[in-house]
């Protein structure tokens, strides 16, 4: 039993990290008032490019960097559409998802089903290997730690810095932000660009850090989970760590239980993150404070005339 818990906790960060990275990317977009429904496709493209770059001889770090850049590149038309031309964000995001999903399928055929050497575990905590329960949990690759640091840094930046305050203002009340001299569109472009990089990175981590192989459809709804995770975390990066650990932990638990021979309704258990998020949405609706967590202008187009 102890061994199983140790193994589960050891696997959990690997499941947590892509969800956390994608959720942080979405959180940045949404804090700037942009709802990015392209996430599932952008992750798929990041995963494909990461794998293709690894197969092409790039190191894991470079491969993930290229995956992140691919996420940014494919999101540029979306950014121009919704930020410059104020296109409705929901259909524009779905279009981005389709373009990126289609591109990953069309461009990635040569890279499918070919294993490669992925990201290695850091050797920093080797001495702790034998420690029960947490020993295995400390044996992770660098991206796990980087994602946690990024979440903490983003939380601090949003809460404490002038730039973070301005970004929150852009998503909350762009008219007031505009009046106080904040360049709304510049902040939105910056936030969605950084967010797309993170979402692409999340996808690249799935192939380069996780499975060390790319197959079409490997994102398998994780983008949508990340979207739910942002709501679950009430737009707070620190709470997103907790949510990603919870959702990732649930994901990691199912194969462990199966390996132990426990008969579990796998698919019914997998519904939990979604059901939990709906429950959180309902609870939030009853709490005035929680309701205010959602960026007030999320999904809407701002023009100066509205001020």
């Amino acid at each position: 039993m102890m061994l199983a818990v140790t193994a589960w906790l050891g696997a959990m960060p690997g499941f947590m990290t892509p969800l956390l990275l994608a959720a942080l990317g979405l959180l940045l977009c949404e804090r700037a008032g942009i709802l990015n429904l392209g996430v599932e496709g952008v992750m798929a493209l990041g995963a494909m490019v990461g794998a293709a770059a690894s197969l092409g001889g790039f190191g894991p770090g470079q491969a993930m960097g290229l995956g992140a850049l691919a996420g940014l590149a494919v999101s540029v038309p979306f950014m121009v559409a919704v930020i410059v031309f104020r296109a409705p964000q929901i259909p524009a995001g779905l279009a981005l998802a389709a373009i990126a999903l289609g591109a990953s399928a069309a461009l990635g055929r040569g890279a499918a089903h070919m294993p490669f050497a992925g990201l290695a575990v850091l050797g920093w905590f080797d001495e702790l290997e034998g420690v029960p329960v947490i020993g295995r949990m400390m044996q992770q690759d660098g991206m796990v730690w980087l994602a946690l640091i990024l979440a903490a840094a983003l939380g601090l930046w949003l809460a404490r810095s002038r730039g973070g305050l301005r970004l929150r203002a852009v998503g909350e009340d762009p008219a007031t932000a505009d009046a106080s001299g904040v360049d709304i569109q510049l902040y939105q472009l910056g936030a969605v660009a950084a967010g797309s990089l993170l979402i692409g990175l999340a996808g690249a981590y799935l192939s380069v850090g996780g499975s060390n192989i790319w197959t079409e459809g490997m994102v398998a709804g994780r983008g949508w989970i990340a979207l739910a995770l942002v709501v679950f975390a009430q737009w707070s990066p620190l709470r997103a760590i907790f949510g990603a650990a919870l959702f990732g932990g649930a994901e990691a638990l199912i194969p462990r239980l199966q390996a132990m021979g426990v008969e579990v309704p796998v698919y019914l258990l997998s519904m939990l993150p979604y059901a939990l998020t709906i429950a959180v949405l309902v609870l939030m609706a009853f709490s005035k404070r929680a309701r205010q967590a959602e960026p007030g202008f999320l999904g809407r187009a701002y023009i100066r005339q509205d001020r």
């Binding site: 259909p91 510049l186 005339q305």
Partner: protein, 354 residues
């Protein structure tokens, strides 16, 4: 930076401007899509044959296109009926899966005797409506965003589908997770023209009813009011809540019926691949048809033609089917971006802008 020009909202665009914008966007989207196809390796000379002749002009090709378009018309209705009231149904696939599951359950458990087939279709509609109900109620009672809830419900529906296909519904004689094949009394009739089946009649009747209700009945008048300004509609004595709920449930029912039509009309069993991409297809078709039911059959044929052409391009030129998604994505993105021209007026700024 970008505010060297200022924008104003237009008080409604003129019909000419709207029509030109739409036509221009469609032409640009198509041109970009064709460019992607050529870049992917389809010879320019083959485009007309593959995209028009094989898909719309040859009898066998047209039959494939019409078959594919049938559930798409219902999926597009699911998007359009909700969108008319500014309700974004991002969970069409989920409602479709529930419809397919309910229709399959009626078939597998031999419910309904001689009324089996009609009952399957009714069950499909009920399943779809049931699956959209939580998002409708949460939106109406608590103001919870329907975008997230319909999306989440869709993911839950897919897991339910898998649970059933790997469990109670599974046909143990197959290696793949599918339900047993339906009996003859559980299949929609074919007309002897490819796989075109009774589902087409159901879809066209649904389109006609929706067009009638929106265009000729008091419901359509109320729906327009409630969609534009729910508070004013309520103040004017329209039953805003009832109109909203009815429209959303009708949308869910149409998605469910699409699932029923797929399992009883073409697949004859439940599989994991039923209705894939229908959320996106439905929204693209609804957007191209500007949420007008009357235009949906034509647009659905066009989008179905893309898929049929994509399947043949894959065989003959090794072009990935991902190309079809890219083309649809480009067309939708260009179309919604072009709304800028009809929504805003651009004024050059005179003074210095902060």
């Amino acid at each position: 930076m970008l505010e060297t020009v200022t924008l104003e909202r237009r008080q409604g665009a003129g019909a000419v401007r709207a029509a030109l914008t739409y036509a221009g966007a469609l032409a640009l989207g198509l041109a970009l899509s064709l460019a992607v196809l050529v870049a992917a390796g389809v010879p320019t000379g083959a485009l007309f044959n593959e995209l028009v002749v094989q898909v719309f002009l040859s009898p066998a090709g047209l039959a494939r296109t019409v078959t594919m378009a049938t559930p798409m018309m219902l999926g597009a209705l699911a998007a359009a009926l909700c969108l008319r009231l500014k309700f974004w149904n991002i969970g069409i696939e989920g409602q479709l899966w529930l419809g397919a599951i309910c229709a399959t359950a009626v078939a597998l458990y031999d419910i309904g005797g001689p009324l089996r087939l009609p009952l399957m279709m009714v069950a499909a509609m009920a399943g779809g409506a049931l699956w959209i109900l939580p998002s409708a109620l949460l939106k109406m009672w608590l103001g919870v965003s329907e975008v997230i809830v319909t999306l989440l419900m869709s993911n839950i529906a897919f897991l339910l589908l898998q649970h059933l296909l790997f469990g109670p519904f599974r046909d143990p004689t197959f290696n793949f997770p599918t339900s047993p094949v339906f009996g003859e009394a559980e299949k929609l009739a074919r007309f002897g023209w490819g796989d075109v089946n009774g589902g087409l009649v159901l879809a066209l009747v649904a389109v006609a009813l929706a067009a009638l209700a929106l265009g000729r009945l008091r419901y359509g008048y109320a729906a327009r009011f409630v969609g534009d300004n729910p508070k004013a509609a309520l103040a004017l004595g329209f039953p805003a809540g009832r109109v909203l709920l009815l429209s959303i449930l009708a949308g869910g029912a149409m998605a469910g019926l699409a699932g029923g039509v797929i399992v009883a009309g073409t697949e004859y069993r439940l599989t994991q691949a039923v209705g894939l991409n229908m959320t996106f297809n439905g929204i693209v078709i609804a957007a191209l048809a500007r949420n007008a039911p009357g235009w949906i059959p034509l647009v659905a044929l066009f989008i179905a033609g893309l898929y049929v052409a994509g399947a043949s391009l894959k065989v003959f030129y090794g072009v990935s089917e991902g190309i079809v998604l890219i083309a649809q994505g480009i067309i939708l993105l260009v179309l919604v971006t072009a709304q800028f021209v009809t929504t805003y007026r651009v004024r050059l700024a005179r003074g210095v802008v902060a």
